[in-house]
């Protein structure tokens, strides 16, 4: 047994031991500690910043005391590296004795913390990462963000029903990109559509030119695109530069590409793109208008879907503490969270009691200009969408 494995065993044993005492420890304390692990630096930093902002906003509005307990957030930056996530989660659980761990910007980070949540018996509230399998990795994981399958299957269904016959796909060659592609393909071809060209782009791709030329030559009705947040803008600019917009080829995809965070900087090239997603800052509800206004006032920018996921995540924790009557051990909290339903700025949502995953409306939106700014304007709704990645089984 190497030193590394031995240390891991010891750490695991320590966590397991602590789990046994969690109940007694929790009853003695007055405050509820939430360990928030998000990327605050690095390429995924905007995810962490949005989640952190949204949580601050929620606590300003709703106070920091629930059921007689004071809520305390301990923010840790993992820079989206799973090694860091695991170490930070362990420190939070063992040293700070947190009651809940939350955040998790990317899938590997959420997976790295899963065994710790199981051993310590504390809830892991996933506020960003979007792969289906995450909630299956521990009975203590609850998700308030989304799964890629939710948006990719819906846009596939929608495209097949709305006169789009031939689609060329352009996806980044990494796990979420392949997920998006496969879910889309399955639903689009089942609906009678045809994939005429399939291109996987390397993740670190400086120039889309050759791929876009290929798209153009295959003469599809639409291009299905999924690239990591940040590359979307480049993609749209080059798409317009090459004149694909003028040849009548639509852009469709899961809504990550048209994140509110980036949309306005993409310029008019993004106009007309149709995407399926859980949230748009332009969602026409009173609650959302108020949310967007107060977020803009506090942080000077528009909230994106990551901000909403964080906002709903902290709401879920608050409500679970209320519902359990101030009992903050993992089992009571998870039991309280299962099946909980509420109105979020994105619309009505609930936690599936079976899978602990989020059930939400998926909206079909088109990029339009409103008051000189670009927004995703919702025009069709698929209600109460469960994660198709799981319902299949």
């Amino acid at each position: 047994m190497s030193i590394r494995t031995r240390m891991m065993w010891q750490a695991a044993a320590g966590v397991a031991l602590l789990g046994g005492f969690a109940l007694t420890a929790a009853q003695a304390q007055e405050s509820v500690k939430i360990g928030l692990i998000v990327p605050m630096t690095g390429g995924q930093a905007s995810t962490g910043q949005q989640i952190n902002n949204a949580i601050k906003l929620y606590m300003q509005k709703n106070g920091d005391t629930v059921a007689g307990k004071k809520i305390e957030i301990i923010l840790k930056d993992d820079a989206a590296l799973p090694d860091n996530t695991k170490r930070l989660a362990q420190e939070l659980i063992v040293n700070d004795k947190v009651n809940v761990i939350a955040g998790f910007g990317v899938t590997p980070a959420a997976l790295a913390a899963a065994p710790l949540a199981t051993q310590a018996k504390i809830p892991e509230v996933v506020m960003a990462a979007g792969t289906s399998i995450i909630t299956e990795r521990s009975p203590y994981i609850v998700r308030t963000s989304f799964t890629l399958a939710q948006s990719s299957t819906i846009i596939g269904d929608w495209a097949a029903k709305n006169g789009i016959k031939k689609v060329a796909t352009l996806t980044s060659d990494y796990a979420p990109g392949n997920d998006a592609l496969n879910f889309f393909k399955e639903h689009f071809t089942a609906g009678g559509g045809q994939i005429v060209e399939e291109v996987k782009v390397p993740l670190a791709n400086p120039d889309f030119a050759p791929f876009l030329q290929r798209m153009k030559d295959s003469k599809p009705d639409a291009v299905f695109v999924f690239v990591p947040a940040g590359q979307g803008g480049n993609f749209m600019k080059q798409y317009a530069e090459r004149g694909l917009d003028k040849s009548g080829i639509k852009v469709i995809g899961p809504g990550d590409v048209m994140d509110d965070d980036l949309l306005n900087n993409m310029g008019d090239a993004a106009l007309g793109a149709v995407t399926a997603h859980l949230y748009s800052a332009a969602h026409p509800s009173a609650m959302n208008k108020e949310f967007v206004a107060s977020y803009k006032k506090a942080f000077g920018s528009r909230p994106g879907f990551m901000a909403v996921s964080g906002y709903d995540g902290i709401h879920l924790i608050y409500e679970a503490i209320k519902k359990s009557g101030g009992k903050v051990d993992g089992d009571s909290l998870i039991a309280a969270m299962k099946g909980m339903a509420w109105e979020s700025p994105r619309g009505p949502i609930s936690i599936d009691p079976e899978t602990r995953d989020i059930v939400q409306n998926i909206y079909i939106r088109e990029v339009k200009k409103v008051d000189g700014e670009l927004y995703n304007i919702e025009f069709a709704t698929f209600e109460n969408v469960k994660d198709p990645g799981k319902t299949k089984k």
């Binding site: 670190a204 030329q213 480049n234 317009a240």
Partner: protein, 288 residues
């Protein structure tokens, strides 16, 4: 027709690579200094241009020379204060020092400019394609080819025809003899370094539209700069120029015709060329 479009895109991409990397070819090849932080100067230029165009409303073509000047000034400042102490040190020291600079520039940019992608608002006449005998030509890429082509010619003239060029070549070949002849070697190096940084800055500003611009720019594109310099050989600027064109066209064509292997084409070309000519296409055959 498609072949010509691919060729055109490849040339534009290659030209851009050349402007970005030729400063590195100069510092590495002529001054024998490993400057991995080269991309940081390119990023500086990109952000300067973005701030000037987006926030101050300056025209794009006015912002380009300013991006050049600011990057060159930053380069000159760092050369005088930091870099010159490392000229005589081993390559390992230089690598460690400059990679440290890269990380500092990444974090500083993240702090001041935010981590998301920045775009430069382009004037309308640079957007879209124009039709030349049925061939779709991107206006922006056409502009890149023109600007970079002129720059290359100017560079070659400076190096081979001017007094400064001959001083630089002398200073590189034998610094001791050159200073004995009254050439101010440190000054020549400082100017050259600053000029290389300025070119990188201009490349960063020009490339933001195609390559993107975020705080990780220096890390993401370091590998491309190094490929250009190693494949081209670092003894002249003709080598890196041809290497950039070859890699640009190879990369674009590879991605178009065999998209499944697209990402590997550029690396395969590098390996093949380096096996064939270990010193690069135009490397010096005998070690100095």
């Amino acid at each position: 027709m498609t072949l010509l479009t691919i060729l055109f895109d490849g040339v534009a991409y290659g030209m851009l690579l050349f402007v970005l990397a030729c400063g590195l070819a100069v510092t590495l090849g002529l001054m024998n200094f490993v400057n991995l932080a080269h991309g940081a100067f390119a990023m500086t230029g990109g952000y300067v241009c973005a701030v000037l165009v987006n926030r101050s409303g300056l025209p794009f073509f006015a912002a380009l020379p300013i991006a050049f000047l600011v990057s060159a000034a930053v380069g000159a400042l760092l050369e005088r204060t930091l870099y010159r102490h490392l000229y005589a040190r081993s390559h390992l020291d230089q690598v460690l020092f400059t990679i440290g600079l890269v990380f500092m520039s990444v974090t500083a940019t993240d702090y001041f400019m935010g981590s998301s992608q920045t775009f430069i608002k382009l004037p309308d006449y640079l957007q879209g394609q124009i039709d030349i005998f049925g061939l779709g030509v991107g206006r922006y890429r056409l502009m890149i080819i023109v600007i970079c082509g002129l720059l290359t010619i100017a560079l070659q003239m400076i190096l081979s025809k001017t007094r400064f060029g001959s001083r630089l070549r002398a200073a590189v070949d034998d610094p001791r003899a050159a200073s004995g002849l009254g050439i101010n070697v440190p000054q020549v190096f400082a100017l050259t370094f600053a000029f290389g940084c300025g070119l990188a800055g201009m490349g960063g500003a020009l490339g933001a539209e195609i390559l993107g611009l975020d705080p990780y720019f220096p890390l993401k594109f370091m590998i491309y700069f190094l490929i250009v310099v190693t494949v081209g050989g670092s003894s002249s600027i003709t080598g890196p120029f041809l290497a950039s064109l070859l890699l640009g066209i190879g990369d674009v064509a590879g991605k178009y015709y065999v998209p499944k292997l697209g990402a590997f084409v550029i690396y395969t070309m590098m390996i093949v060329i380096l096996i064939w000519r270990p010193n690069g296409l135009f490397g010096r055959t005998n070690a100095r």
